[in-house]
Symmetry: none
Subunit: 400 residues, 2 copies
């Protein structure tokens, strides 16, 4: 029998509260350049230590051995979906993150203003990183003048800086299409290819929109990337019987959570606020996902000290959530972003589950090397949600 | 290629002897309520310690992450079958355990006498837990009066106390059917639904059998549960080339072993006797499965001390089997039954394989936390038999 169906048949409801804290890219590696220690090992983390002493630990393989995930697959796996089966285009994620409510069949693209010379050659792929206010003004202009292309509605929404999103809504569209972003300066805007009708709509959109920007300097052009349609994904609630909320600052993560049907709770810009809202959300939701970004940013920068600091800041903020005593509390990452790699990697991220029935693996701290010694083993991330269900006693016995 | 086929192609014969000792539900968790120790950690186990110092250790995931197995799936996985592919109804297991030889297509039901009031309402689902002798008398009465329903033969056999089994044998039957047991007192007997012909046969069986019991107090009715047909399972011998025997006291485990074609060796009620018989059986069989029940019962009762005692008793009995020096000796559980959970759970059970080529993982004792550190890792239970074949040098090299 299909495994998802087996789990679904066993899923039962109760009043337990579950919290999933994702320290983005928290996993790291101990190399000579880092004194053979990882940021988690060097950080002072009294709250993570407290959890470690009452938890089951392990490591999560984000997608499959050796595969480095983007944020999309990384989070989808944590949400319990097979990231090799459910592929989500970047355009879709960005659109959701900006608060656009996508409908089945919508095709979305990440867009960004660029600078074109008189010959139509891209001279700055980010248009000098214009202000958000300019972006908003130009997007309003585009939206006013281009509302429909044939039977396809065009929805344009500004993001931050030079970024915006374009959604095409109409019959018979499908992604993915190739990017119109040529990938580097000195080339003309590329032609998006793929699904015939959608490619035609995208091409016509460019033909109509580009002249409108003719006199807008420096943002007199735009590039489209990640042109994709919204996939059909079983909702988190249908899948687990959990009413779920998402607490994140960055659009991408809000978008991913909304894609599976979590309710987005708006927060400003501090970790403390995120965790305060998480505690509040646990009163009305069964499941709360809290996304912590700075760990990943520090890893991307290759900045060991900054990653240590980000972990310590997250640790401090975590105290509030621990005090709220959710029935199941998980701390993990969506992947590793090792300082020596300066980017995402495939190294399994550490994971820790604390519940009344997690038991204690005898490990004192939440680190990568402690995770290697835990009872969860080195396990595909897509099973984490199943373990959370089990710890919440939300999975019935299988067979007599 | 299909994995099972790969293993089968590699399977070779030799004269090695293999023993699988299942301490039912032995796995546990270390929580604050247990002083952060498990029964295996607190038990004095000189014989298990002896094996630990010459074994490969690990932990077994009974079915899949987070899934708590019943005894059926738990044992089928230990026997090397994928428990998500081979589902066995409880009626089938009980029938086999009582020594009934099922044929393909047979539908079996667990039955138990109950007490009905004048309106046909169930007032005691276990008929006051009548003596086995009364059960046997009433079953003989039923069997004498109901032998056939149309073209379907009815086979009824008494179990212990109020329990018995009904097997329907005839063309075109299939399970599973819903229970006629309403699940609680104060309700009438329910109607079994599912496969049309089988449901009709079951209904007619009740119409004919219930009047026969009219004057039998307190067991004037009966309820059917786990109505299922015997699944087609490749035999243990065909699968591994091993002539296998089963040594267990409880019917369910004998039934499971017979389902895969093991020979049942009857024993009375002591662990010592079970292990004496195991040593004897190793002389004529290639593979002996020994089932030890008290560990599970203590876990179900949430009795830490009883579980420690059960482990120590099993440890003592194990000395005989160790002295017999089987080529491969495995000690594990079919799942965990943690004291704090008071029931089966999904927590991986510890496993230990001792053979001339098991090597030693450097671990001193057989415990859950030692298992986390072993060379077997945290592995699906269905692969255990394959490892046993390998340790017995019964699997050839794959590829040149």
């Amino acid at each position: 029998m299909n495994h998802d169906q087996v789990y679904k048949n066993l899923t039962i409801a109760n009043n337990t509260k579950l919290a999933l804290v994702v320290l983005d890219g928290v996993g790291d590696i101990a190399t000579e350049s880092t004194g053979f220690h990882t940021p988690l090992e060097m950080a002072r983390t009294p709250n993570l230590d407290y959890l470690a002493k009452r938890s089951a630990m392990g490591r999560l393989i984000p997608v499959a051995p050796g595969i480095t995930p983007g944020s999309g697959p990384g989070h989808l796996a944590l949400f319990g979906y097979d990231p090799l089966e459910v592929e989500v285009g970047r355009g879709v994620i960005e659109a959701l993150g900006l608060g656009l409510e996508l409908k089945a069949g919508d095709v979305a693209a990440r867009a960004n203003f660029c600078t074109l010379d008189a010959q139509g050659i891209v001279t700055d792929r980010r248009a000098g990183r214009i202000d958000t206010s300019i972006c908003e003004k130009q997007v309003a202009l585009l939206q006013k003048k281009v509302k429909k292309i044939g039977d396809v509605q065009v929805i344009i929404k500004a993001g931050k800086g030079h970024r915006f999103v374009v959604v095409f809504r109409g019959p018979g569209l499908a992604g993915p299409l190739t990017n119109t972003d040529p990938g580097r300066e000195g080339l003309p805007i590329a032609v998006a290819t793929g699904h015939a009708k959608t490619a035609k709509v995208v091409a016509e959109f460019q033909q109509r929109a580009l002249p409108i920007l003719k006199d807008c300097q420096p943002a007199n052009g735009f590039l489209l990337r990640g042109i994709a349609h919204q996939p059909a994904i079983e909702s988190f609630h249908d899948r687990y019987g959990l009413k779920a909320a998402c607490i994140a600052i960055y659009p991408m993560y809000k978008g991913l959570a909304q894609l599976v049907g979590m309710t987005k709770i708006e927060v400003a810009h501090s970790l403390a606020e995120e965790f305060t809202m998480a505690v509040e959300a646990l009163k009305t939701y069964d499941f709360v996902f809290v996304h912590v970004k700075p760990t990943d940013a520090a890893g991307e920068d290759g900045n060991f000290e900054a990653k240590v600091a980000a972990i310590e800041e997250a640790d401090a903020a975590l105290a509030l959530l621990i005090a709220a005593k959710p029935d199941v509390l998980v701390v993990t990452g969506d992947h590793s972003t090792p300082v020596p790699v300066k980017g995402h990697s495939w190294h399994p991220q550490p994971v820790m589950i604390t519940s009344e029935i997690s038991g204690w693996d005898g490990l004192e701290r939440f680190t990568e090397r402690a995770g290697n010694l835990g009872s969860i083993g080195v396990m595909p991330a897509k099973y984490l949600l199943r373990l959370m269900q089990a710890h919440a006693r939300r999975l019935d016995k299988f067979g007599a």
